[in-house]
Symmetry: C2
Subunit: 258 residues, 2 copies
DNA sequence: CGTTCCCTTGACACCGATCAACTCTGGTGG
DNA sequence: CCACCAGAGTTGATCGGTGTCAAGGGAACG
């Protein structure tokens, strides 16, 4: 197991649903909480469902009745435009939580689609609403996760609005690298990237054709290797400098302390 | 006083700080709470400070010690890139609240600048942390406001990533129209837009020159009038159709019931 | 062994950036 | 009252990044 996982994740797996430790690792990377808090998080992951690739977890307009925790696989938030094109606004990785307090709003203004086959824990909303009352530290941890999600959204705006196509791709890869390493899915600068070039294009506001050309350029320059769904970042420092990637917006303060 | 303000805003002004009713109107547009809850909100606005135009409320890297409520004037979140260019990621309008739970994160990953001279209420963070315990309805209202802010961020990603320059401008204007009308700052489809073309450019990921040309186009097509800081939307329906603007992401459900 | 999905390549068009100059306005000081 | 100035808006010429369209290739899968 990767050294990036925190102490909870390496605890003995006492009938924990697979992937649940990723969720705990992610929250634990940004916040501190007790072992018994961690057990509460495990109990949230009881109702696990498998979603096939390309199926919607929730569609635009739905009223969500529970929130989702991604245990395995990738998902993406997306909005569909008038002309039929799709814009992805976030990737949901293992350990990510989605639609926290979703029932406060009555209708989804966007959809969530499984990019790969994904195992998703469904948590009734009421459980989540009561949680901060008994577990204040977890309440803070969830707030913190929400604020980090917002910071990621802002960085996407900057990325899409200001950076050239090659840097945009590089920045996305740096973000995914950072987020995946928190949940132990990066080994030796390598990680699985189950994205087609079309999906990358939908996330970055570019066309698949241009993604293809810019990926070739990044490969030629020795910045990345990206074949058959596996991305290798040759030198993280060089790629992040090229992309203008600044880790700080992900607020990994606690991570450094662990 | 505009008919868009809700019942709280039209209550007798019992020594309420100017602009405080905008804050109450904004929260009240999306959530319901009691008159005594509203009074609690008024009490939050005791420490009001005036910020000159172009001055930072908070700079990137600062550790915020209180949260901000905009009572009058405009502000903007922004990030500065390596090359010195600036990307605005949100406009803060009268009634908007910012850095809710800011102290949960230790350092700001972006700055906030006053676009006009602005009157800002400063609320100590501890006050806000305790508020949901005694006023659960307000806690829900603040959560709801946060979720709507997130929806706006997502719509900005879509806007910047997918729409042509003219539609991008039109979409921004529709958003501002909708948000300003909630706090009573739109009359007869007209509202003050204290933005230079450069600021619009910084928000939309375009150059001032191109903003200028596209504004001319929108004017020629009779969609807007925009002179000396005052924007008029000639026909909201036509402009919003042109922009692909869908009001629903701002979740104005409660607004309709009032 | 064909089908399907994804990746790749080339030619060309166009939107928006860039650079540079000019105008207009409001404010300020002589 | 006028001269000057700074900031914002406007215009034109040209360049380049990315989109578009269309065709072909390769690998996985039935």
């Amino acid at each position: 197991m990767s050294t990036n996982l925190n102490r909870f994740a390496s605890a003995p797996a006492t009938a924990r649903p697979t992937g649940c430790d990723r969720f705990i690792a992610k929250l634990g990377a940004a916040s501190k909480f007790s072992e018994s808090d961690a057990q509460v998080l495990v109990d949230l992951c009881r109702d696990v469902r498998t979603i096939p690739a390309r199926h919607d977890l929730i569609s635009e307009g739905d009223s969500p009745h529970h929130l989702h925790i991604v245990l395995e696989g990738w998902a993406a938030r997306y909005k569909t435009l008038e002309d039929g094109s799709r814009q992805i606004t976030a990737f949901l990785l293992p350990g990510d939580i989605s639609d926290l307090h979703g029932t406060i709003l009555s209708r989804m203004d966007h959809g969530i689609v499984a990019i790969t086959r994904a195992r998703i824990a469904h948590v009734p909303h009421q459980v989540m609403e009561d949680l901060p009352l008994h577990r204040p530290e977890l309440g803070r941890a969830l707030w913190r996760a929400t604020l980090i999600d917002e910071a990621v959204l802002r960085s996407w705006i900057v990325n899409v609005a200001r950076r050239s196509a090659d840097k945009r791709i590089a920045h996305l890869f740096c973000e995914l690298h950072a987020r995946l390493s928190v949940v132990g899915l990066v080994q030796d600068e390598r990680f699985d990237l189950p994205l087609t070039q079309e999906v990358v294009a939908d996330a970055l506001g570019l066309t698949p054709v241009h993604i293809n050309r810019m990926l070739q350029k990044l490969r030629e320059e020795g910045l990345i290797t990206f074949t058959s769904g596996r991305l290798t970042i040759e030198e993280f420092g060089r790629l992040s400098k090229f992309a203008g990637f600044d880790l700080n917006y992900l607020h990994p303060q606690q991570l450094r302390q662990v």
